[in-house]
Subunit: 112 residues, 2 copies
């Protein structure tokens, strides 16, 4: 990428999911959020790999929460955006927006 700064497509989705979920942003929940909203099936491995890479880049950081008192209530690793993460989202969003400018969606079938 241009200086390794741009977000991948899925990275962007994950970041947005973490943002939306605020204090409830842990792996399984992030997976579900993306799956429900975008209607695609997201595997858990994809989510964690991305979460780890975003953490390594310093765009999010992890925090281990206490286990909840329910069956299978294992401790969750929850995430939130860092300042750099916020900037990255803003930038990606701006870039995408600038390419959409003036186009009307949905595009009609025979748009040509």
């Amino acid at each position: 990428m241009a200086k390794g700064e741009s977000l991948g497509e899925f990275e962007y989705l994950v970041l947005l999911a973490v943002l939306r979920l605020s204090d409830d942003a842990y792996g399984m929940r992030v997976r579900r959020e993306i799956a429900e909203r975008t209607q695609r099936d997201v595997t858990i491995g994809a989510v964690y790999a991305t979460l780890d890479r975003l953490t390594a880049k310093g765009l999010i950081n992890a925090e281990l929460s206490d286990p909840t008192p329910e069956r299978g209530g294992r401790a969750k690793r929850s995430f939130h955006l860092t300042g750099a993460g916020i900037q990255a989202v803003n930038r990606s969003r701006r870039e995408l927006e600038s390419m959409l400018e003036g186009l009307a969606f949905p595009l009609p079938r025979g748009s040509r």
Copy 2:
């Protein structure tokens, strides 16, 4: 990707550029369009590789135009979206939009 259907980040940008440029969508011009709008530096190799991959997937198709009568006016290979390409753009856009829903941009620095 989920069934290999989703567009990569750069693929999406390239598709949008091709769309915007309509009959003037050839490699160099696409490169410039993306560079100017998104403010990032895009190398020509990245553009052609992506254009080729999108062609292979049937999302755009190429057409060799006549050379223009100017110095260095070599024949251009220009592209336009296929029906599948239009659908792909619509879908990516819808997915992204659904993840943005309710968020206000730009995100404030201390959004957490």
